[in-house]
Amino acid sequence: MAEIKLRKVMRCPVCFARENDVTLLKDGDEYYCIRCSYHGTADHIAGMYMDLRKKYRWIQHRVTLEELRIL
């Protein structure tokens, strides 16, 4: 899977898993959440984002109109 570049504003991956957008704050090399106890580096957050995407098993799957008819 291609490496994903991220902007420096990030949302808490734990709160996101609950479908809640909470912006992380930075403390040195780590980001931390003010709503929950999550904290982690940018790489750790990126990894968690990719884990979260695993629920979308068709995230890279094109479903055309023809395929919709038989789906």
Binding site: R7, M10, N20, R53, Y56, V63, R69, L71
Partner: protein, 584 residues
């Protein structure tokens, strides 16, 4: 499919991104409707650009009323922190709408025909129609934006706008999210939703993760960098609806420029956000060139819709889930008397039911009883109100309970899918694939469910026992409905609701959280009257029922239950009306 591409024009740091959106659209030859804010109309450079877009490319110029009122007049009369239009009091709404129309006339020399607001409640539409009768069409609601988005913004997004049509509609005077039943009931302005939402995932989750808005999908992490097939899949899902709606489907893209760079909920680099937006427009332009899509200005679409889509025409939407890959089907039906969702993954249970026939009046604003909650109330909402049992007992839903000996199986535990949709003068017929049920003694059966939506607040539910492994087995079936009412996930006061059963022992109770059960032999109708939302709901036997009951809830389970009991025999069917009505 019909398309409206809409760009909002506002001043400030993001203005260059608006120009970028415009460049993309014009390079691709797409028609754009520009929604210009009051504050933008005071900037001569922006006004010159807008006029040039109109003259050079034909862009329609419309009026944006959601926000952006800053002006000397506004500061003098109202001032204070900015509020969305529909949340001001009536006097302030009138002032702002008049201000917007006046600025528009002075700036562009004519009256607007198209307006945009994320929500446009009944007071706003009445005032707008009075002040500016030239307005034909408005962006006037966001499908299923409410509780889930409120929670998703850490309980800070106070836009409660659930229970509305997913496509264009004729807003009713007393509740603009309800489709009008006739000309007299209509506000005079055609409504279109803000964005085309995913009708599977906006029911299950946040509508602002899954919409005709690439940055929404980015917000939901539904892309991987530049790879974003979901945006095309959703577009094609809307095209698919033509096959069930007399060749009609509608799609709109209304992305504010701020989503293309620096948005705090987007973690992709700006160039990714911009490329994904461009990609979607390129796909729409490709469909247009292929003759599979007609792009229109909003007022142009309003004329087409008025001419081709009569008021009170029922609509359906077959939602196939295309991101998780679950292969789930949901089926939505809408007419001026109801909006209903059939959850085929739960054996065809009704997951969401809005009784438009009750014509519950709702308006938003600081001087209205409903304040910021503009949603149309539900009678059933399985996600907010428990649905099938997970922990304690179940909540709002419908199902069929099949009993053999001492064992009862719940149809909602069986996966089904849409087998066939047929629409003709009798109504909309929905047939599901057979549900297979296995009892612990080895008996196996399969049951087919058919829904017939006939209009007038009525749904005919038919169950057919197609197969049984032992034809001598005795089976009974309960047509089961558990209801409540509300607009959020929290329970409302149920006192004042009445429940009744007819038959050999006709009985009636007034709801007092007493968990009373009223049974009657040969009952043919079980009814709940919910005066709080001026509606009633009943199950009426078409096939003669053996008995029936109504069940009052308790504070730990604040629902009412309506049940009719039938015998189930191989090759035979049971039919029941689910009827909604207005009630006081």
């Amino acid at each position: 499919m019909h398309l409206n591409l809409i760009h909002r024009v506002f001043p400030g740091n993001e203005y260059p991104l608006i120009l970028l959106q415009q460049r993309y659209a014009h390079e691709l030859g797409l028609k754009v409707t520009l929604m210009v804010q009051i504050d933008a109309m005071q900037d001569p450079a922006i006004v010159a650009d807008v006029k040039n877009f109109h003259e050079q490319y034909g862009d329609e110029i419309g009026l944006s009323l959601s926000l952006g009122y800053d002006s000397p007049e506004f500061r003098e009369k109202i001032g204070g922190p900015s509020e969305f239009l529909w949340l001001y009091n009536n006097e302030e709404k009138r002032f702002i709408i008049q201000l917007g129309v006046d600025y528009f006339r002075r700036t562009f020399g004519h009256d607007p025909q198209s307006v945009a607001s994320y929500h446009l409640d009944s007071t706003c539409q009445k005032i707008l129609h009075e002040i500016c009768p030239s307005v034909k069409i408005a962006v006037a609601g966001c499908f299923e934006e409410g509780v889930k988005v409120f929670h998703g913004c850490n309980n800070s997004w106070y836009l409660f706008n659930e229970g509305m049509p997913w496509g264009p509609w004729y807003p009713a005077k007393t509740h603009t999210l309800r489709p009008a039943e006739n000309e007299a009931d209509w506000t005079g302005i055609i409504g279109v939703p803000h964005l085309s939402r995913d009708l599977s995932l906006s029911y299950e989750g946040r509508n602002d993760f899954f919409a005709s808005h690439p940055a929404n999908a980015q917000r939901g992490l539904a892309n991987i960098g530049y790879d974003h097939p979901y945006d095309y899949n959703l577009c094609d899902l809307y095209r698919f609806q033509e096959e069930f709606n007399h060749g009609f489907s509608y799609y709109n893209v209304f992305v504010s420029a701020g989503w293309l760079a620096g948005h705090p909920t987007i973690q992709d680099p700006n160039e990714v956000s911009q490329k994904l937006y461009r990609d979607l427009l390129e796909y729409l332009a490709k469909l247009q060139k292929q003759g599979n899509l007609t792009d229109m200005y909003m007022s142009e679409f309003a004329d087409w819709y008025r001419q081709n889509w009569p008021i009170a025409t029922p609509e359906v939407y077959l939602a196939k889930e295309v991101l998780y890959g679950s292969k789930k089907h949901y089926f939505w039906y809408l007419d001026p008397t109801m909006r209903v969702l059939v959850d085929t993954n739960q054996g065809g249970s009704i997951g969401d039911l809005r009784p438009y026939i009750g014509k519950t009046p709702v308006a938003t604003g600081s001087d209205q009883k409903d304040l910021m909650v503009g949603s149309y109330p539900y009678l059933i909402q399985s996600i907010y109100r428990t649905g099938a049992a997970h922990h304690f007992i179940d909540g709002a839903r419908t199902t069929l309970l099949v009993t053999h000996k001492d064992e009862t199986l719940d149809l909602c535990t069986c996966k089904t899918r849409v087998s066939n949709v047929k629409r003709d003068e009798t109504g909309t017929q929905l047939i599901l694939t057979p549900a297979k049920m296995s009892f612990s003694d080895g008996l196996e059966i399969s049951v087919e469910t058919e829904y017939l939506f006939t209009g007038g607040g009525a749904i005919q539910i038919t169950r057919r026992l197609l197969n049984v492994s032992d034809p001598s087995a005795t089976l009974t079936a309960q047509e089961y409905l558990k209801g409540c009412y509300g607009v959020t996930e929290y329970p409302q006061d149920m006192r004042g609701i009445t429940l009744s059963v007819d038959g050999d022992q006709p009985q009636r109770l007034e709801y007092a959280y007493g968990r009373r059960k009223l049974c009657s032999d040969h009952a043919q109708t079980v009814t709940a009257v919910i005066p709080q939302i001026t509606s009633s709901m009943a199950l009426e036997a078409i096939t003669p029922a053996q008995s029936g009951y109504v069940l009052e809830g308790l504070l730990f389970s604040p629902y009412y239950t309506l049940v009719l009991d039938y015998n189930l025999s191989l090759g035979k069917e049971t039919s029941t009306w689910l009827k909604l009505n207005s009630a006081k």
